[in-house]
Symmetry: D2
Subunit: 366 residues, 4 copies
Amino acid sequence: MSYNTFGREFRFTTWGESHGPALGATVDGVPPGVPLSEEYIQCFMDRRRPGTSKHTTQRREPDQVRILSGVFEGVTTGTAIQLMIENTDQRSKDYGDIATSFRPGHADITYHLKYGVRDYRGGGRSSARETAARVAAGAVAQAVLGALVPDLRITGYMVQMGAMHLDRARLDLGAVNDNPFFLPDAGAVQAWSDYLDGIRKDQNSVGAAIEVCVQGCPPGLGAPVYAKLDTDLAAAMMSINAVKAVEIGEGMASAALTGVANADEIRMGPDGPEFLSNHAGGILGGISTGQDIVVRFAIKPTSSITTPRRSINSRGEEIDVITKGRHDPCVGIRAVPVAEAMAACVILDHLLMDRAQTGGVRGQIG
Amino acid sequence: MSYNTFGREFRFTTWGESHGPALGATVDGVPPGVPLSEEYIQCFMDRRRPGTSKHTTQRREPDQVRILSGVFEGVTTGTAIQLMIENTDQRSKDYGDIATSFRPGHADITYHLKYGVRDYRGGGRSSARETAARVAAGAVAQAVLGALVPDLRITGYMVQMGAMHLDRARLDLGAVNDNPFFLPDAGAVQAWSDYLDGIRKDQNSVGAAIEVCVQGCPPGLGAPVYAKLDTDLAAAMMSINAVKAVEIGEGMASAALTGVANADEIRMGPDGPEFLSNHAGGILGGISTGQDIVVRFAIKPTSSITTPRRSINSRGEEIDVITKGRHDPCVGIRAVPVAEAMAACVILDHLLMDRAQTGGVRGQIG
Amino acid sequence: MSYNTFGREFRFTTWGESHGPALGATVDGVPPGVPLSEEYIQCFMDRRRPGTSKHTTQRREPDQVRILSGVFEGVTTGTAIQLMIENTDQRSKDYGDIATSFRPGHADITYHLKYGVRDYRGGGRSSARETAARVAAGAVAQAVLGALVPDLRITGYMVQMGAMHLDRARLDLGAVNDNPFFLPDAGAVQAWSDYLDGIRKDQNSVGAAIEVCVQGCPPGLGAPVYAKLDTDLAAAMMSINAVKAVEIGEGMASAALTGVANADEIRMGPDGPEFLSNHAGGILGGISTGQDIVVRFAIKPTSSITTPRRSINSRGEEIDVITKGRHDPCVGIRAVPVAEAMAACVILDHLLMDRAQTGGVRGQIG
Amino acid sequence: MSYNTFGREFRFTTWGESHGPALGATVDGVPPGVPLSEEYIQCFMDRRRPGTSKHTTQRREPDQVRILSGVFEGVTTGTAIQLMIENTDQRSKDYGDIATSFRPGHADITYHLKYGVRDYRGGGRSSARETAARVAAGAVAQAVLGALVPDLRITGYMVQMGAMHLDRARLDLGAVNDNPFFLPDAGAVQAWSDYLDGIRKDQNSVGAAIEVCVQGCPPGLGAPVYAKLDTDLAAAMMSINAVKAVEIGEGMASAALTGVANADEIRMGPDGPEFLSNHAGGILGGISTGQDIVVRFAIKPTSSITTPRRSINSRGEEIDVITKGRHDPCVGIRAVPVAEAMAACVILDHLLMDRAQTGGVRGQIG
C-alpha cells in the first residue's frame, strides 16, 4: 500500500514528481454548489510559489492551476475535482549527479531501499514540490469553509528560523503577508533577512518553526478517539516534507506544567462559555472548544547544501556529496502556506465528519 | 463519523467506557498461525495496570483480558480477535458531582458540546482507561512482530516529569522496568519519587515527556506521502489522552539546526549503509532507514485535581470545581506502556503495508 | 488484510466463531441521543434465531444481546457500541469429523488454503452464525433510521425456495411475519412447508431467493461512482453467506428489455415527481429516486447435507463426506432478517454520507 | 462523502465529465518496478473506444492516454500514477435541450435532486464515458498481474443481447476479439448484427448480459467476511453504469438447486485438489478455490433513445423527451472491456491484500 490520499470526508490524492510533466491533486467529497475558480485557487498558489524572493529557490514555476473536472459554470458539482499544475522549469541536468548518490538527511536512500527504483530528478516524489498540490487542495477547502463557516480564519506564520525567534510580545498577524518570511513582526524582518543571507553565503541551510492559528473554529469538531482533531492536525503537519515535530497549545512545554497552572479556567460570557487561558490550544479530548486552535511545528534544515558531506552511492562506494541545483536555504518559509492548506483540509474534513454524525447540532449550556 | 479504529492493515477498534461493564479492542488483519494466549497479553496489561504503586491511581482493576475470538488451539486464525476486559472496581458515586460540571482542562465540556449527552462516570469514553484496550491490541502486534521480526525491540521510558529531567549521559534502557517511573536511570528514581510525592501532597499534578525507541526496525517501512512512518507515529502518540506534542529525532530542536549540523552522514559498514548520527530519528522522507526510531511526546498534567479551579456547569452556572476520585498525579507514567503499544501497532501496520506493495523486497546497495 | 468491517459512516465490525465463547458487533459512527435498549435489539434477534420452527436448525441459542458500551441512560452517546452474544449451545463434538475433511460447496477448503489454520467447529468464522452479529448491528441502524426517517420501512421476504415460487399477484407484505418462511402469501405457506419437509427427508437441502423492499427512502442517497447505493446494496447482500447473485429492480431480466420498455416515465404529482413504473428498482445512476428500493438475491442450498458427497481431507486422501450436526435445510429462510439488517445499515450509512456532503439539502423541481 | 475511489491496496480514483476538458484515473498502491508504457495501456483503451463499429456511438474519441506521474524510465516507481485522457470530440450543443429535462431511466433526475447542480453536457459525471478511466486503471492492474501471476487470464464476452442468447455449446473464447460484440461464437455474429440493426432502426435500444471468466487465479484470494472476493466483484460490476444484477457461478439459478446437485465434489489430482464441477464460480466462503472465476452481469438498455418518452423538466413541467446525440444502441457491448478492467483491479487488489496478511503462503493439502 502506498498512500497518497489525505482525509476522510474531504479527501485529496496528490500525484506527480518534481520534474515530471505535471503534478496535481484529485479532490473528492466536496459539497456541491460552492463557487470555485482557477483565479481563486491561484491566489493561494502564489503565496507558496518558488522564485518570489531571494530567500527561496530560484526555480521559476508559474504554478498555474487548471481545473479539469468537478466544477461547472463556476460552482462545484459534488464530483471529483482534478487540479493540474504543469511543470515548466525542470532543469533535470542539475540532478544528473544525484542519480546514484544519496544526500545525507534526504529521502534518496530510503526511497531507493524501499522501491528499488526512483525518479531521482529533483527528488522526484520526495520533493517539496509535492506541496504545491496540497496548496491547491487547500484552496478548495478554503472555498468550502468560506461558504460554511464565513468567520473562520487560518493564519500561518514563522516563529523561529535557526537562531532567530519571534518576540511574542510583538506578534501582529496583520504583518504576516507583507514580508517574505510570513513573519508577524514587521520590525524584525530586516534582521531575519540578514541572518538568512549569512546562512546562504555559508553554503548552509537552516531549520524553522511555524505556527498556525485557526480563529473562529466552531466547537465540537473532532472524532474521538482515533480521529481526534489534534491527532489529525499532527498527522497533517508531520506529513509535510522535513517536519520533525508538532505541538498543540503548550506543546512540549506541557511536560513541565502542573495541573493547577495548566487548567484553562472557564467563566460564562454573554454568548456562552469563555476560557480564561488557552494552554490547550483550543482542543480538549480531541474536540475543538471554540477557542483559537494553535498548532506549531518544526521543520529541519534543507538537506541539499553545497557544503560537502560524507555519504555513499548506490554502488556502495563512499563519496562526498555536494548538492547543486536551486534549493531553499530555509524550506520552512514556503511551508507556511502549505501548513495553512493542511489546516484548512483538516478543519473542513472534521466539519463534514461532524455533520454526518451529529448533524452539526451542539449540546446546550444554560 | 466517530472514529474508534486505528490502523490500515493491522487495525484495532477500541470500545468501552471507564465505568461501563467492560471495555476492549476488536483487532483485525492479524496474520494467521501466530501463537497468542491470554497469559502473553496479560504481561503487557500488567505494566499499565492501575494501583501498582503509590504514584498511580488507587483504583484496583485486575485488567484481566479474555480472548473471545480469532484464536484457536493457541494460534491466531486470521479472523477478527476480540479482547475484552471487564471493569470491576467502578466507584461511580465518586463522580456524581461531575455529572453536570466541567473540569477545566478536561474533555467534559467538549463531549457535552459535541454529543449533547455523555457518560460522565469516570470520564466515560474520554477516560484514559480506554488505553487499556490499546495495550491489549499492542500485545497482539508484539506477538506478530515477534514472529516476523524477532530482533525488533520497542522500549518506552520517561525523560521528563515536571521539573525533573533525565540525564542523557546516564540513560540505561536496562533499568526501565525496575522502577515505577519507567525511568532509564536507577540512580534518579528516589529523587523523582520524592518530587511526585510533593506534587501529590500539594493537591496538584504534573506533566511528563516520554520517549519510545524502536531498535531493529527494518529499513523501507513508511508509505509516502500521507502514511509516512513518522506521520503515523505522530498520529498514534497524539491520539493518547492528554498528549500535546510529538517529536521525531531532533524534534522541535530541528528549528535551530543548520543543514551542515543536521546531516546524518553515511558510510559503508560490513552489512550495508551505516549512519554516523541520528538527528532524523531513524526516518527519512517518511521511510525507516534501519536506524533506531526515536519518538518523543509530551503529556499534560492530569486535569482532575483537588485544588479548586473556576469553571461552569451544564446549566451555565459559574462554579468552583474540585475533582475527587482516584487519579494519577502524573498520567505520563502509565502512558509509557501505552506508547509502546501504539508504536508496535504502527510498525506492524507498516510492515504489512510494505509487504502488500513491495513484497518486502529491498533495493540493493553495492 | 482481513476485513471484518462493513460501512463508511455507520460502520460495524463483526467478530466471533460459531463455537467460540461469544460473537458480536462493534458499531461505530452512531449519532448520539438515539434511544436504544437490549430489548429493542432483541426483537430483531428473535426473528433470525435458530430453533424457532422445524424448518430451521435445531441448535437452541437464546441469542441474548448485551450492550457493553456506547449507550448511557437509555440513549446512544456517539461512541462505539459493543454488542455481545454469548454462545450457549455449542455441540462441537458433532464436528470432530470435519476437523480435517472438506465439505463440498463449503468454505472449509478455502479457509484451509488461505490461512493454513481454521476453527473447524461448526464452520468457525465461515458459519452463518456470524449473521447474528449483523442482525444486532442492523437493529442499531433501524433505531437510528427510526429517529431520522420515521416513515422508512424495510421488509424482506422469500420469493423462491427451490421449485416453489411466490405468485406475485398474491404478494401481501402484511403476511410476512405470520409464517416461518417470511412468505408474503399466507395461502402458500402449507405448500412450501410440505415441499421443505420433502427436501429434508431426502437428506437434501435447497436454495432460495429473497427480496428486500425499502419503502419511504428519501431521494438523493448514493455516492457515485464507487459507492453507488446499488453498489453498496449488492456488496451487502453478496457478503451474506451462500449468496450467489444480487439483482436491483428488473435485475438479470434487464438484459432482455428494450429502452422503450425499460423507461420509467415521469409525471408531476402533488408532492413532486411521480414515476409510472419502477423497472429501476428505485435507483438511477446509483442514487435513490424516492421510489421503493427493490433488491433481490439468490442463496445457494446448504452445503452441509447427510447425503454422501465425494471430497478429500487435509491429508490429501479421497473420502466421502456426510455432514451430521444441526443444519438448516434452507438457509435462505433465516437470511431474510439478515438481509433486512444489511439493507438498514446501507441506507443509514448513505443517509449519513449524504448529510456530510450535501447537508441533506435536495435540488428543487418546479 | 462522494466516493470516486475503488479498491483497498490497489486503489484508483476516477475524475472527469463527459464533455469536460479531460478525464482520467489516479492510481495508487502500485508495486514498484513493473514495466508500464502508454502504448501498453492504449491497447486496452482501444478495445473500449467509441466509434469503432456501426454498433457503438459515433462519437470519435482517440482516447489517447498520457501517463503524468508514477512511471520513470519505463517502470512503475511505487508512487501515484496519473492517467489523463483528453476529450476532443465534445459536441455539447447536442445536449442543450437536456440541460433542464430529465431522461426517463437516466441519472439526470437523481443528480439534480442530490446535488442541485450538474454538468448536463453528455450526462456529465454520470456518463459511461467515465468507464474510459476504469479501463486505463485496469490496464495498470493487468501489467502488475502480468508480472506477479503470469498465467492469469481475464476474458469478458457477451452472453445475451435482448432476445439473442449465446449458445453455450458453441462457446469459444478464442472468437471474442474478432467481432464487434465480443461474442464467443463466430457463427452467431451476423444474426446479432442484424438484430441490433433492427433495434437501432426502431429508434430503440436493448439490454445485455456479459460474463467475465478469470482463468489461472490462485486459490486463497478473498478477505472474509466483508471483503469477500465475490462481494468485491459484485460491487465492481454493479458500479458500472446501467448494471442491474451480478451473478457468481450459478447465480440466480442457485435458488432452484438442491444441495446434492450444487455440491462441487472434490478429488485429488496430480497437482492438488480438483473440483468435478464449478457451480460456485470459483469462490467458496468468499475465497478463491483456484478454479475459473465466473462473474456475470446484466446491463439495462440505453436510456437515451429517440422514441419519445413522457417526463418532466426541472421547472416541474410535463414534457416528452427525445434524446438526440450519439448513443450506443446497446451499451452492454462496450461494457465488456470495462468489466475485464474491473475484474483485473479486484483480483490484483486481493492479491496484494492477501500478500499483506498471509504473505501469500498457502495451507498445505497432503
